[in-house]
Symmetry: C2
Subunit: 134 residues, 2 copies
DNA sequence: TTGAAGTATAAACCATACTTCATACTTTAT
DNA sequence: ATAAAGTATGAAGTATGGTTTATACTTCAA
């Protein structure tokens, strides 16, 4: 039995970057960019293998989904990093973590308000167009 | 009576770029950038004055407010331009304009959904942190 | 066993959305 | 009358978030 297969048996929930990319629909290079940015880490199993490949777990998949959603609605990578650090890091106290998360929830509520306002503007736009006002 | 004052009396609702900047809280340079990008136009009253200054009306103020809100929630300038063109341009038929605006409204609804999902994730995050799960 | 596909790393390049700099003209305040 | 402030224009520079290119090693399938 090859190392590869043995490894896969134990780490059968772990993904190589290619699978991770397909699973999340994020290009490999972008995933690497995010990793270098410090948004998550893959694990290199040097004790078992010598190939230097990185393996990613479900946790990383979840983080990537969060990143996608958050970017979609206008959060920057540094904001997202702050969020992930609060959630999974060890640098902050429990209260500080909760504060970071609560603040971001507040910002999200603001953004929802903004979106509703833009939506209202566009609905007004449709009415204008219908009334041939422009 | 100077030209300037005379002009202001007639165009008392028109703004110079400085006033426009203060009114909208958008830097002068950014406003010029947006104008060059084609998001709106100031008017040069060469018949009355020779100074080449641009004057901006309420319409421009409204557009800038729309731009601010839309950017805040992750729309790009080119998307915003498309929107403004649909609304105020002459290139499209009424039905085409309505289609552009409706599509964008649909996207906004999607974004609101995304935001609600991210919010849910963060609320879960708070619970995790409280339960000392990370 | 060998060629195709996958992985790692670094560096250069790119698009978007500004920001800064430089130059020159106009208006306004004193 | 003149200095300070405002305006116009063009070009270069910057930050963010990637993408592309190049090189080299590893694994896998036939």
């Amino acid at each position: 039995m090859k190392y590869g297969l043995y490894f896969k048996k134990i780490y059968n929930s772990m993904l190589l970057i290619n699978q991770l990319s397909k699973r999340t629909n994020i290009p490999i290079h972008t995933i690497r960019y995010y990793e270098r940015y410090g948004l998550f880490e893959g694990r290199k199993e040097t004790s078992v293998k010598s190939n230097n490949y990185s393996w990613y777990d479900e946790n990383v998949v979840e983080k990537l989904e969060l990143i996608k959603e958050a970017k979609e609605v206008g959060f920057s990578l540094s904001e997202i990093k702050e969020l992930i650090d609060a959630w999974h890091g060890n640098r902050l106290t429990v209260d500080q973590k909760k504060a970071v998360l609560s603040n971001k929830i507040k910002e999200i509520e603001d953004k929802i308000q903004h979106l509703k306002e833009v939506k209202k503007l566009l609905q007004q736009g449709i009415e204008d167009v219908e009334a041939l006002l422009c």
